[in-house]
């Protein structure tokens, strides 16, 4: 069957629509989870991210709440899945690789240690075509990094 929405689907792939509609880990975590807010005043997107660390460094659980476009919600949802089990340092490296992916559409780190995770995040790479939407995709990641650093707020830059 031909896809009636092929022209729309290349940017909004099924995984984005799915996570946008049914975000995973969409809840709050209680203390002692670390927590930070991310705010994109340009479009009103707002997320709050919680991370629970175990044995000091490793992310046992990540969760979020927020409202915004399908891109920002899907990105946050996918993030909470991919950072689970990572050390804070690994999560920061993944955040960097992800930012490169959505800003440039290219994935220089895709062959590296985070290949599998980046492959899961790759459907978001289409936003590189829309510089004004890149911030939607990176907002939750900024909030995650702020939470890991013990800061209360992050503004998607």
């Amino acid at each position: 069957m031909t896809d009636a929405f092929a022209d729309l689907r290349d940017l909004y792939q099924e995984v984005i629509l799915d996570h946008g509609r049914h975000p995973r880990n969409f809840r709050r975590l209680g203390p002692p989870a670390r927590h930070a807010k991310g705010d994109n005043p340009m479009c009103g997107d707002r997320v709050e991210v919680w991370v629970r660390l175990e044995e000091g460094e490793r992310i046992a659980e990540a969760a979020f709440e927020g409202r915004g476009c399908a891109i920002s919600i899907a990105s946050a949802s996918l993030m909470t899945e991919t950072v689970r089990g990572k050390s804070a340092k690994q999560a920061r490296a993944l955040a960097d690789a992800f930012r490169t992916l959505v800003r440039t559409g290219r994935c220089p780190m895709c062959g590296g240690v985070h290949a599998e995770d980046l492959e899961r995040l790759r459907p978001l790479s289409g936003v590189a075509e829309y510089p004004s939407r890149v911030k939607c995709a990176t907002l939750a990641w900024h909030a995650l990094e702020a939470a890991l650093a013990g800061e209360a707020t992050a503004t998607s830059a």
Partner: protein, 417 residues
């Protein structure tokens, strides 16, 4: 109303002939003909405007008001002709009342500084409405924070019209010094009753400033008939270039206002001890003015006058009625603003999709709309939404483009269903 009916009202109005005057409308986006429904953000430019600016740069250009040479004299003449064109366009009593600024935002800031800080009694309040663009909110908040003046906000009705009872109530104590209000909302399309507002303001001892950024594009503005004290608009929404805006104010007010920016062109004599201000309007035009932009704006006004503002208004009214009917018929579409008197913008939301996703998905189909808070965040809060999408129309917009928007939006709805 059908195109044929419009043609009967304005026999000279031919949207397809008009489109041929806009080179950009021949462009494609994502392999599809451009459907530009974002004219309220900035309008496209007719060839007449482009050529007037190119002509100046290629054949007749120098700085103005200073060179004692042929090129400067001719350029000064062309630039000052723009002032005459704007004065006629607004039916201003005098060309000296036309001050060129960078845009409408700067024009409002000029009034907030030179009148708000320089002339207005700090015990007086400024009254705005809940449907203002940030350009007509922030300058007054800054004045409030600096001078401690009171800033009042008139509510709007569920239809998106000015709450008249509320407006009168806010004027009643006679403490409002200035009413600063939009003449047409960039979000709701609402055209405000300017004459009535001016009369009520004056009766309450207040002056009135109209933000005409949208209104001046869509209908004839007569500042004397309105009874305005200040009127601002911008060139780039009026089919003219960016970088030029207009402040019209009554000469008596301009005379009393101190300068806004200091520099060349705004003084008559200078020593290291003091300076004498130039006559109006030059007192408010420090530095080299937007010369080419002025020439472009004059060409834009000439173009609009040739097509006819009345014909444009009629055309856009028919398009707006058509768009409201087409979009309302789509399941899950909510339209913001149902004012009786309205201009060519239609703001909407789709219940299962965020406005940014809607705009991006329309863009994939070659259709340009605005999405976000439209520089009116407080209004978004009043409407109870984070962001909305907006389609806006111009002289070159066709019914077929609105059909395309409706069909594309229907696809987006099904895509997200």
């Amino acid at each position: 109303m059908s195109q044929a009916a419009i043609a009967m009202v304005h026999p000279g109005f031919d949207v397809f002939a008009i489109r041929r005057e806009f080179p950009i409308l021949a462009e494609s986006v994502r392999g599809k003909p451009l459907i530009y429904l974002d004219s309220a953000a900035s309008a496209q430019k007719p060839r007449a405007v482009i050529e007037a600016m190119v002509q100046a740069m290629e054949h007749q250009y120098a700085n103005v008001h200073r060179g004692l040479h042929w090129m400067s004299e001719r350029t000064t003449e062309a630039f000052e002709t723009a002032r005459d064109a704007v004065a006629r366009f607004l039916n201003a009593p005098s060309r000296e009342e036309i001050v060129f600024t960078k845009n409408a935002t700067e024009a409002i800031n000029l009034v907030a500084h030179a009148y708000g800080r320089g002339v207005m009694d700090p015990a007086k309040a400024v009254l705005i409405s809940a449907m203002e663009h940030h350009a007509n909110i922030i300058p007054w908040q800054m004045l409030r924070d600096e001078r401690g003046i009171e800033l009042r906000v008139c509510p709007i009705t569920a239809e998106g019209e000015l709450d008249w009872a509320g407006f009168e109530r806010l004027l009643a104590d006679g403490r409002v010094g200035l009413v600063a209000i939009t003449h047409m909302s960039n979000v709701l399309g609402t055209v405000t009753p300017a004459e009535r507002i001016a009369r009520a303001a004056h009766d309450a001892g207040a002056l009135v400033l109209f933000d005409g950024s949208q209104a001046a594009v869509h209908r004839r503005v007569d500042v004397q008939a309105i009874g305005a004290d200040f009127y601002v608009f911008t060139g780039h929404k009026l089919y003219g270039p960016t970088g030029i805006g207009v402040l019209w104010a009554r000469a008596e007010l301009l005379e009393r206002m101190p300068p806004f920016l200091g520099g060349g062109d705004m003084i008559s004599s200078v020593s290291f001890e003091k300076a004498e201000w130039a006559r109006i309007p030059h007192k408010f035009e420090a530095g080299t003015p937007p010369i080419l932009e002025g020439i472009g704006l004059a060409a834009a006004i000439a173009w609009v006058e040739r097509v006819g503002l009345e014909a444009i208004e009629e055309h856009e009214r028919a398009l707006t009625d058509f768009a409201l009917a087409r979009l309302s018929a789509i399941e899950g579409v909510r339209i913001f603003g149902r004012a009786q008197d309205r201009g060519g913008v239609v703001t909407f939301a789709l219940d299962r999709a965020h406005a940014h996703d809607v705009a991006t998905l329309l863009d994939r189909q070659g259709i340009a709309v605005r999405a976000g808070h439209h520089c009116a965040e407080p209004l978004m809060r009043v409407l109870g939404v984070d962001s909305t999408a907006r389609a806006s129309f111009a002289a070159y917009t066709t019914r077929a483009e609105i059909d395309a928007l409706a069909e594309a939006l229907e696809r987006v709805r099904r895509f997200f269903a």
